[in-house]
């Protein structure tokens, strides 16, 4: 797929963060970026639309990022979707749990444009989503 054809889902309960990430993804040439305010909204969108990448915050209510990751990896129709956890969460126990659950990568706050570009393209190329 080409980057302009990809559908990306950004999930964060902080408006400041989701707006910044969306704007940045546009500057990288992605055209379709959908936003959700929490994991519950994301679950509804995942059932009705097709996404190739999810950028999700960790701590949200209702349905946090880890539960969303488990939902995605546990669903045969969704489990292939690239999943990046966007977070300030760096406790060892939590990070290991997310890795065990199948997260593809982490974006640690504070986010920089270089870091987002590097991780997003890295994951999409590694999973052979992008040509």
């Amino acid at each position: 797929m080409f980057r302009e054809d990809l559908n990306i889902l950004v999930v964060d309960d902080v408006n400041a963060i989701r707006v910044q990430i969306r704007e940045l993804l546009y500057t990288f040439g992605f055209k379709k970026v959908t936003i959700a305010r929490n994991g519950a909204e994301a679950q509804v969108l995942l059932i009705t639309e097709t996404f190739q990448l999810i950028l999700s915050d960790w701590h949200m209510d209702p349905v946090d990022g880890l539960s969303l990751l488990k939902f995605v990896r546990g669903n045969p129709d969704l489990k292939h979707i690239a999943f990046i956890m966007v977070t300030a969460e760096n406790t060892k126990e939590s990070v290991i749990e997310a890795i065990k659950c199948g997260v593809d990568d982490f974006l640690m706050k504070p986010l920089t444009s270089f870091q987002i570009q590097n991780k997003v393209f890295g994951v999409l190329l590694r999973k052979k989503v992008l040509e």
Binding site: I17, Q20, D57, H59, D61, V95, M108, K109, P110, T112
Partner: protein, 151 residues
């Protein structure tokens, strides 16, 4: 997107959002205070709000707010499992001080950290140490190593 300068008018709106999170944290502390032993599980709501403030403050290049929110997050996590009334009270006192400072700093986000705030940080760190210290964290390099090991 480098951490964003706080003079941008758009950022003011984002700071207002953080003030909203601080308000939720304040309401939570008030509820706990009414009956600390019964309501101490609500400390998890407080720690979640502090986590959100920390992440957003880091992104908005407000490291002093992020630092205080980070210590408060850890104290609240310890407070949830505190076994004595005295420990819960101590945590409540520290968290009220921390929250008041965060609210002040959000309203005056361009001001430098004062000596008084530094004193508060030292006190909060001391409280956290007495409660057993913060949870172990992991560096970005270690995270990358763990991801590589998996693949």
């Amino acid at each position: 997107m480098s951490p964003t300068p706080v003079t941008d008018p758009k950022i003011i709106e984002f700071i207002d959002e953080m003030v909203g999170f601080a308000k939720t944290a304040e309401e939570t502390l008030s509820q706990i205070e009414k009956d600390p032993e019964t309501e101490k599980s609500r400390f998890s709501v407080f720690s979640d709000r502090m986590f959100t403030i920390r992440g957003t403050a880091l992104q908005l290049n407000l490291p002093h707010i992020a630092h205080i929110a980070g210590i408060s997050e850890e104290i609240a996590i310890k407070a949830k499992d505190a076994s004595t009334r005295a420990q819960i009270r101590k945590c409540l006192g520290s968290l009220w001080d921390a929250l008041s400072t965060i609210k002040y700093l959000l309203e005056n986000h361009l001001s430098e950290t004062s000596e008084e705030q530094q004193f508060l940080i030292t006190r909060l760190e001391d409280t956290l140490r007495r409660l057993g210290g913060a949870r172990p964290t992991i560096s970005e390099t270690d995270i990358e190593d763990l991801l590589k090991q998996r693949s």
